[in-house]
Symmetry: C2
Amino acid sequence: MKPSNDLAALFNPRSVAIVGASANPAKMGYRYLHQLIQFGFEGKLYPVNPAGGFILGLPAYKSFKDLPAPVDYVISAIPANQLPQLIHDCAAKDVKLLQLYTAHLGETEHGKDLEQQIIKIARDASIRILGPNCMGVYNPRTKLTFRLGWPKEAGDVAFISQSAGHTAEAVYRAARRGLRFSQVISFGNAADINEIDLLQYLAEDNNTTIIAAYIEGLKAPHRFHQVLETTARKKPVVLLKGGRTPAGRRATLSHTGSLSSGDVLWSSLMKQCGVVAVSSIEELVDLTLAIHNLPQPKGINVGAIGSGGGLSVSLADECESRGLVLPAFPPEIMSQIQELMGKDSAMVKNPVDTSVIFPAGWTGSEVKRIFQLMVEHPDFHMFLVDAGEWSLDSPEEIPRYHELMGIFREVAKGLGKPAVIVTRTGDAPEEWRWQAAMEAESQCFRDGLTIYPSLPRAANALSRLVGYYNERATNSVS
Amino acid sequence: MKPSNDLAALFNPRSVAIVGASANPAKMGYRYLHQLIQFGFEGKLYPVNPAGGFILGLPAYKSFKDLPAPVDYVISAIPANQLPQLIHDCAAKDVKLLQLYTAHLGETEHGKDLEQQIIKIARDASIRILGPNCMGVYNPRTKLTFRLGWPKEAGDVAFISQSAGHTAEAVYRAARRGLRFSQVISFGNAADINEIDLLQYLAEDNNTTIIAAYIEGLKAPHRFHQVLETTARKKPVVLLKGGRTPAGRRATLSHTGSLSSGDVLWSSLMKQCGVVAVSSIEELVDLTLAIHNLPQPKGINVGAIGSGGGLSVSLADECESRGLVLPAFPPEIMSQIQELMGKDSAMVKNPVDTSVIFPAGWTGSEVKRIFQLMVEHPDFHMFLVDAGEWSLDSPEEIPRYHELMGIFREVAKGLGKPAVIVTRTGDAPEEWRWQAAMEAESQCFRDGLTIYPSLPRAANALSRLVGYYNERATNSVS
């Protein structure tokens, strides 16, 4: 029998065995089982531990051979030297996928031979290996997970990563800003299932509309190039390459045993394939969010709302230093603002500085009307709103802050043009302020709006969004 | 009588009058008074309002002329057209500084003439003007403030800014990371007291060891160049230039009436003067923090602790792509690690990946010892520790997180070499996680340690710190 290439089936198991399951909360064999139970995994769970007894209320099997039924998916948290025997046992139970949390294999000098041996045995036994040295699969549809704090709702973003730590960073930050995942796959050393398999699978996966990836090294560079190109034609791919520097490459070698090649080669590869290259997990989340949430901009002109004079200046500088343009208001908008505000209209420019409108005695309704004039005008292709926090100097000001946020949400919702809102939850120094901004953010993403934690990051996202579509147009012409 | 050039005296008033004081909490004339009372301003407070009566428990004077005594410092929250009369009245009361919250002056077409007229009247009356169109002075030593949420303790960082919004951003973020201010001066249109006066004053101010500045335009470019150069020789200057782009320049014009010149000119000016140029308020805070807190690095080698395999790779990439170097461990460190950890020592590299040490059964004491070996070795000039958050998947893991943070603090405290710690409070999606990280951060800065909210920002800070001292060395040679 040939090992299955149907990763969709492999990542949607009806039964999972945890080999090396443990009653000790400090052990990963406990955590895997605990998380699957708590998260509500919908299939059968079989803990395996030589001591038998019960673990977290489930009967533990003393040996893998004792399992009462075939099992789709096996998580290994046992030492590497026990793997050859485990794979033989797995074959007898019709196991399709063995996920190896087990490490100390290809990423170490002494484990390289054993890793190759294991892969060979698994191939002969028609079992696919995920890892070794990986955390496995988060699939919110079937409630398979390796992390308890992640959302239970499924979405359409896929993230594949040779680093599990990066998945934690990315999913927390993305989830908080409204992104949900079709699956997250931590694939470690990629000794069997690798970046090529995963891209091919995700390119066809109907639950996935965008692919984010963290890759340290390649098993088959030429094939990868082809597959990346084909995949990126079907779906946006946002890629963080690990090991772009000498010390970074040394670190990939001891992390996943990956030999990474130079940054220049990768940069041109990604450019050729129309892949969105990022330099950090923050940027990976920022750009995945932008490309996932926002429609294609029809030009480079930004209509902006700033929160104060200096912040409006910074907003403009951040955008225009990245190739975007904040045009002055066209006469037809100016005349309407004049009608609305009389002589105070001279203060209203792009970016609109809300701090000069409010003290002049004007209210939210003027801000709303001006914002509407911008979004309806064909000269403005994108929108950047700075929610500010000047108004959040004390808890009494929270209602006013939410009122203004409500106006922004109302105008920006379902707009058909890219619009992003900058909130500053992240750096909030007090709990009440953090809560106020968190609430505003939740309301934003419930309304489908896209939030960024700072002006530089918002401007970068809009600028790279434009670049992504330009690159795509160029690639499809050439 | 000549108007006073002694800004130290001007910014440390014994009495403050608020003209346009109001009982309406929505008005700035209320907020100024309320904030000064709540913050505990130590001098006398005189509200002035034509209606008289009591405001916030203090007797309000119907006219400025009615004030029972001379007054040092006057805050104006009245319309611009009433200013000429106010200045005449101020002269009679021996006022030294008039701070104009009042706006609609030089930053508007119709207000330019009036602004010039006011400055002339003030000069004739020997009164200095701060603003117009500014929030004024925060001086924690005398409890003068224009913001209630800021720290009451004084420090040695000065921030001068043509934007009050930027002061709010900067002080919150800096304060949360342990910086405290000698003073923050929002100086708006800079019609009288300008960036030159303020730099000269701060260069001599014994309470100030580092100067951060946000400047939109210059009144006297050549003189500014000289003063900036002299000041930067005495104390580090971190400078954000507003209006680096066409739309940014349009925005400075309507914000503070500032004519800003091009980015290229400014860049070379700042480089020549040894000024730390930044492109955002985040970076202004990040670099002020680094230069304020950290000693001069003796080289470019970074010893690092990563939080997981992928994060260690990213840490290395972030540093080395910015010109820093993460050298491999020298033999004398390797041999000690070997003694400590036996065959597992092969996993320990620079960056040290804590996630491979812990699962191997090793504890915090090994991490501590390895970190100590690095900090004691002359080959390592700087240290970057990623506290990570992988371990914060559930509240039960908080004690373990704090234990590890404690180890980092203990080793890094009072080190004599630059050391920074990355925490990720900002993006924490849940309150318990936010609280845990906030607590860890507070403990860090109480111990004098320097925290950054992400790997890119930490690496940027260390790299720019090296650049700052290199630049200084070059400038003093030439």
